[in-house]
Amino acid sequence: MAILEVEKLHKYFGKTEVLKGIDFSMEKGTVLSIIGSSGSGKTTLLRCLNFLETPDEGKILVNGEPIFDAADNKRANEKMLRMNRLHFGLVFQSFNLFPQYTIKRNLTLAAELLEKEKGADKSKLRTYLDQKAMELLGQVGLADRAEAYPCELSGGQQQRVAIARALMLNPDILCFDEPTSALDPELTGEVLRVIKGLKSTDSTMIIVTHEMNFAKNVSDVVMFIADGMIEEMGAPEDIFDNPKSPKLKNFLANSLELNI
């Protein structure tokens, strides 16, 4: 069964229609990359999935269960919205770590608040969360920086922390919004390697990216969005080596030009 189904998603900003009916589904444990020129709507789609934007029309289902339906006019209350949101994790382009907390605290803060809400035992909770945080930091290669502050880390390291922070809450689907766009070229490699490493752990991921080679290597499915619609979707070999739509051909030609 599909882990995520998106049906006829529309989003307007004022009178501009940014998403013009997005339909797709993805399987558990697969990696979906979304490519397209800026302004095409890829980031908006990702933000809709994370409820940072509210779609104007359409449905979102996770594991077959509807978690959003624009036609349902009784708006989800804040608690339900928060719980539905936790199906997704999001790694931002600009990391958005909390600067006043140590790296470890960046990981444990939200998890601790959620567990306390469920009434978890405080004393054991701290030890358990610290342990889990250290494990994840180890996984992204930053266990030795647990007590450092975000400002003491490079951009690439901060982004790796942000990935660990998102994993802390065990999201069903982990989303990346251009995770390397704010990084110096020599720092993108370490972040992409971490994402690639996650693929081997069977994580389900949606990656909005401008790194064409990376998208080709890491994805199971690639989606090309143009003008708020899915222009073409398929296996990476098909998308990159046999593009059918003229828009995609054009986009790829321009992207490759940049790789000179």
Binding site: L52, E78, R85, L86, P99, L114, Y149, L169
Partner: protein, 215 residues
């Protein structure tokens, strides 16, 4: 008049200054936050009301406001007039709350949207995001302007004399007028300098403490 006599008389005035200063600070700092929420509210009438209020308070002299609070109730509505100190404190608290509110607003609006979004996608409530993520960053950013405002408050307390509250400056002027000696004026200056100096050191210390991170 001996140095000791002058000192004792000035200390009387200084306690009053300190009293106005302390109570104003304790009440105006939280009240300012409430005004901030008003002027940042999504509910337009409340926002306009708050912003108009801030405009009037910041747009008229504090001295005028003190006079109005003291004489207004009696002359407008025939109410019994307030104790002088109470009138002074009401005027000061309202005035400083409005200045603080604008500093808070600037601080809150300077926090990048990404901080709120990061908190939200991690399942935090809006309240949790404000208190656990944003507030501390706001405090760090507003310490310098708040320190500035607090040092201004020390000296603004001298306006209380306009309704004959004998604070530090009036205490000194009374001596000068009565005894025809000028040095208590310089002495009073030293009181202010010392007090503001201590505050400066305190704020520098707080800033340094909060400087353990950048951003």
């Amino acid at each position: 008049m001996s140095f000791l006599e002058v000192t004792l008389q000035l200390l009387d005035g200084f306690w009053k200054t300190l009293y106005i200063f302390g109570i104003t600070l304790v009440l105006a700092l939280p009240l300012g936050l409430i005004v901030t929420f008003g002027s940042m509210s999504k509910f337009t009438p409340l926002r306009w009301l708050s912003r108009t209020f801030v405009w009037i308070i910041r747009g008229t002299p504090l001295m005028l406001q003190i006079i109005l609070v003291f004489f207004g109730p009696g002359l407008l509505f025939n109410w019994p007039s307030l104790a002088r100190e109470v009138a002074v404190i009401i005027a000061f608290v309202i005035n400083y709350a409005c200045y603080f509110s604008e500093i808070y607003r600037g601080g809150i609006e300077s926090i990048p949207q990404g901080q709120y979004e990061a908190g939200q996608v991690l399942g935090m409530t809006k309240t949790q995001v404000f208190f656990k993520v944003v507030l501390f960053q706001v405090i760090k950013r507003i310490i310098p302007p708040i320190g500035n405002e607090i040092i201004t408050l020390v000296k603004d307390t001298s306006l209380a004399r306009v309704i004959a509250v004998t604070e530090l400056v009036k205490a000194a002027q009374d001596i000068v007028g009565l005894k025809a000696i000028i040095w208590p004026i310089f002495y009073v200056g030293a009181f202010y300098l010392l007090f503001c100096g201590l505050l400066t050191i305190l704020f520098r210390f707080i800033e340094k403490k909060l400087n353990y991170y950048r951003g």
